[in-house]
Symmetry: D2
Subunit: 413 residues, 4 copies
């Protein structure tokens, strides 16, 4: 988030960034849902607005009247405490309200939120809720990009969302950095915003470990395929192998065989695979199999955070969504490259509560805690993450089979 002092302009900037992501899209693009996990762009625009209307305006406007009574259900994602929800796999059936009406909804709620900020510029509860809403908006900005990528990938015309950017063709050699381990603390520290799942900060004991200096590249991953990595169950978790068979996976989600080589569908269309770029859109199963094949393993989230905290600059450097590349870029020759931005890094850590974690009362408490089962933690943000959204203690999480996020691989040992 830009380090501005003015809450209204911060709010407007972040809200505007959502719209900016859709200017390349038609109303049709914004309406369709390509799989139950993904949502239409229009739904993202509506849901993030619903968040502000429901959690801020409803309790604060004396004569609160919803913009449209049906939107309370249509744009509720998973908040049982708010009431009914339109079923997730049916979000793409909502041709009405049209995109125009959802944009009008956004404008109306924005006006009313700014009114609140004008009236009560120093109300800490108001500011906290709006800050949460802004971070929530940014999460959906990332999902909007990964969801539209999935939709476009389903179209045999392979339409491009954006123009390609020139990219270097080489990547530095992978080296290993040593970390001494021992008793250390992880979890958020300081006064800035964080999600509840980053708290409380607490002690963990780490054995000495090494992290790779950069993400695994497409070229390295292609070697794994060539070496028969998808044909030998020895490298795979049992459940991962079953997944591979059932889904008939032979390569990462957006790769296409082309003669003896590979094409990769990206947000800039269907292009020859760039060996120097990080491999992305791999499931945890694939990341784990690659690591085993390479004689290494995935880091734990504590190892990752322990390392990243030592290297965290402010503001964080990295290829985030603001770069407009919409794809990870080859590593620079840093000692430790690509920790932030580029690709979310799968960890071996199941997503679970930190010791002493407490779920907040009411609907806001449904934000994170109820998902702490059968999901795995990813760290570091990606090329689709908004600049300023991320930090070393940030915990993203997805099921092991998910691969439509920009998820990549950093090895540990």
């Amino acid at each position: 988030m830009p380090p501005t002092r003015d809450p209204i302009s911060t709010y407007q900037t972040i809200r505007q960034q959502s719209l900016a992501l859709t200017v390349r899209l038609s109303a049709e693009d914004c309406c369709v849902q390509s799989m139950p996990d993904a949502s239409p762009s229009k739904w993202h625009l509506g849901h993030t607005t619903w968040f502000f209307e429901t959690f801020v305006l409803e309790s604060r406007e004396p004569d609160f009247k919803p913009f449209h009574p049906a939107f309370r259900v249509l744009f509720n994602s998973y908040y049982n405490a708010v009431g009914d929800k339109h079923p997730r796999p049916r979000r793409g059936l909502l041709t009405r309200p049209g995109l125009d009406e959802v944009l009008a909804y956004r404008a109306d709620v924005d006006r009313r939120i700014c009114q609140q900020l004008t009236t009560s510029p120093d109300d800490p509860a108001l500011l906290a809720l709006i800050e949460l809403g802004q971070h929530h908006e940014q999460q959906h900005q990332e999902l909007l990009l990964t969801d539209i990528k999935h939709l476009l990938s389903c179209n045999p015309l392979f339409p491009a969302y954006a123009n390609a950017m020139p990219s270097t063709e080489t990547t530095p050699a992978l080296t290993w950095l040593d970390f001494p381990g021992g008793l250390s603390e992880i979890g958020h520290v300081g006064n800035r915003f964080c999600y509840d799942n980053e708290l409380p900060r607490h002690c963990v004991y780490l054995e000495p470990y090494q992290l790779a200096s950069r993400l695994i590249s497409n070229g390295e991953y292609a070697e794994f395929i060539t070496a028969g990595g998808y044909a030998d169950p020895e490298y795979w978790l049992a459940e991962g192998w079953d997944w591979r068979i059932a889904e008939q996976r032979e390569h990462p989600l957006y790769w296409h065989r082309h003669g003896n080589g590979w094409l990769e569908f990206t947000l800039t269309g269907l292009n020859p695979l760039v060996a120097a770029q990080p491999v992305v859109h791999v499931s945890l199963y694939e990341a784990d199999a690659y690591a085993r094949w390479a004689g290494a393993r995935l880091p734990s989230e504590a190892e990752w955070e322990n390392a990243a905290a030592q290297m965290q600059a402010d503001p964080l450097a990295g290829h985030f969504a603001n770069s407009q590349a919409f794809h990870p870029r080859p590593a620079r020759p840093d000692a430790m490259a690509q920790l932030f931005g580029d690709a979310w890094e799968w960890t071996q850590s199941s997503y679970s509560a930190y010791p002493g974690f407490a779920i907040a009362p009411g609907a806001i408490g449904e934000y994170n805690g109820k998902f702490m089962i059968n999901q795995y933690v990813l760290r570091g943000g990606s090329c689709a993450t908004p600049l300023g959204h991320i930090r070393a203690s940030y915990r993203n999480f997805f099921p092991a089979a998910s691969c439509w996020q920009f998820s990549g691989i950093r090895l540990a040992r």
Copy 2:
């Protein structure tokens, strides 16, 4: 089809009628697919155009170049002989080409078809193919309406496609008409167009039978429900009962319980159920269960055609799509009402080949014959059928579980 002598204006009129059906719809409405059985409006517009481009232009234009090479696959429905097909359940993922581009596709193909008709106004092979394409277009006009109805029915806002028309509130008493049976002929006769599945005309032997004077009304069907018709397996085919349980059906597809009464979703929105209107959107299972409960049965297609042929006026009277009601209307006090238009009438006849039926060679042969299995014949057309498309020998067919067509019930005994 309007009885005009001019092939170009006939062509243009029919093609224009497809566009007229979509003027009430947004590009978003035209893009989304609500279930695998239904197709987006945009796909209907593209596919009917593809039919003319593939079966007429491709073999006749000396320097044929497709409007867009990918459309050959995207808009192929089920013609294996033409080549690959975009998978049916994924038609709704095609946000590109946009509606605008599909309209441009239509305009281009229309221009070139008219050129052919201008150049070879008397070529019987050309005229026959274009006539087939026109009837094909009209079939998709009906599907466009039933598919968009299904899509809108999935939206909790229950949007209306058209404005409601006033309707009488009464229906004449149901009476029985006698038919003597004996040896009679069914199948198409005469020089006008018909589909291959209406041929050859052939003898059938019929026992004496009776047909009901009109369709079963909503009011009568509601009595069946009130009497416990959906709770007692005695009235149902075994497979129908399994379907009812698995699908949790308690009433026709678009009915909604409302207090002690019923609402019905129609193309004019969610309205109180009109008792005098024919019940529609019932499956063959429901139609058969109703008939059993009522101490009657469904007619065979030969019985239906034998009766209808005796009553067929030219042009056929009935409430067709041109009436703009988009819903069946209460019966008029005719001796035999509602035979044509209003609602397709389920028969007990499995869709099968007439004796001597021959499948045409090539892709056109895939039009009908390969579907002659596990489908049942419906007769008479509906409120969504284009005026002029139907005749007494016309055989529509759907699986027994289908209910998103305007399918209703006429009893026999």
Copy 3:
């Protein structure tokens, strides 16, 4: 059924034949269910006994007490009017009652039925119910064989149920017999037993037609495969092609590729395919595709019955279950071979009610009528049909995808 005058010995003979079929089986063999369509042998033994207990003893014994109260539910197949039913796909979970207890159940009911026959030897209602029960028992004798064949086929050891019999290695050339058609009658005639679905006898009009002189042989069917019959959708019904793809079918159910040739699993184990034997265990989809490839079609059931009635001897000749071959045999050089026994012959006729068919009141009425949907008629009996069970008007019926019965192909044109 043997033409005996003594009802008690007839009853005992037929009941004994069921037991004779299981002497080769272990209690384990008799307990397991290999798919929802098939039932364990033990269940067949119990269900046929339940039929006599429920429909005969319950209403006739003054102090009727069921053998075991739970059996009323456990062994009810599909009679809603009798009450609850143990779910069909869970029949194989019933390790209790054990086979011993089911045999005791049989003995007890047999004793009591014979008591009834002794007490009321001339009661026509009693005799009619027992005759129905005997035919019911014979139907389950056939199912017991086809179900145990399916179970053994799932075992990688491919156990044999019986010893193989020597078989001729040649089959006469296929010729065509002419039938003049015209107005004729089908349906049961005479005083002997028939099922309700064979009535009423009624007129049908037939175009002139030809029937093949024998069933299609394994060798002929193998040519269809070699010619690419399973690779070209042109020969297949659309639904059949989808079935073929979804089920990954490349050959009949029990064939196994072996080098350049074929093995066939039969009730005598896994043996080299005998080219001269009739092909069996084909679905209607496969039968129809073969016929199309061969430039012919399947007969209608009226054509079949019309032909068979002219050739029906009394008693019927054919290879039935009593031959102990448990597999169809090559045709003899008759003008019209294999009409009865050997293999059920798929017809193109959907299973439907004859004109005027009436469902009997009560549970017995559930025997046939409620299955008249999405099933197709087979005629003629098979090598698993008990001698004396069949006649020219006999209508067997299965869904188009079924292939675990001894179903074969006779061509028409």
Copy 4:
């Protein structure tokens, strides 16, 4: 395992215990598979034998000849390195080999193993493999009991496996024990046998915590149900709530509503629920929901082991399978009751590798490591665990939805 010095009698004792578990069962009982997760008793008897044959005899007998060549595939569970496997959900279709033949297989392998032990009584590699095989056998003894319980539960006759034992009707009040936390070690220590997943012993840092003095009782769990615990998503993990809805769960797996009370199916039949006994057969979702409702949480596996290690007696006390109760018993008034035996205790810990965990090469390496994904750790053993099989560092693991094991709830906070 009994602390005996003689490897042959140890081996024979453990092998004999498997047979002892099946003497109450018929061959039919031993053959059937009630769900894909469960295996037939006969398969357990064969698979444990296969383990010794494959991993001991095959590499040690100079002229090794398998007892039956097909058994290598039939009784392979999940060892890819050994070769093909009979598909798990089809284990119940193996009516052949019969139980008799499997018992002969056991006897033959036992004889040959004892020969090995006689010939090489001090070969440490041999002894290690046999010890692993014995522990493996004991694991399957537990599964045999839980699998047969599931099978019998599917039978509407609710057969009893064993005779009921008298049980006290009261349970002491639940109290909380304090543990100081801090840096501590978990993982196996000492020279006795352990599985690879219990190693290496390593440091963890624990916050101070409390554990409940006993398992949650049926009575306490019934209060949760009465209080609406199954109706309010607030208590449930999101995935748990979806599971509850999809599976229509309203109570633990083997509970049955009976008037205003409850029956529970146990290995002694369908009996009134005993309030004082521990609740068992709950999924992790249910355990977690109960804990949240009770204002507590589940322990981590490190917390559990840290506590248990302090209390571990040698030999361990607890109600294990040797008690012949086959059901957990009410707690005794110990400070910390029921840690071992009675019921496996769900922890909140995802099953993952300890730091430095290394997978053994070859097939034996497939024993544990490849399952470290989307499973959760349970601790402490159950009433179905063989005496001597368990220890404080023992890690059992199942998916969160599993409930056919004797899994219960101990609270932490």
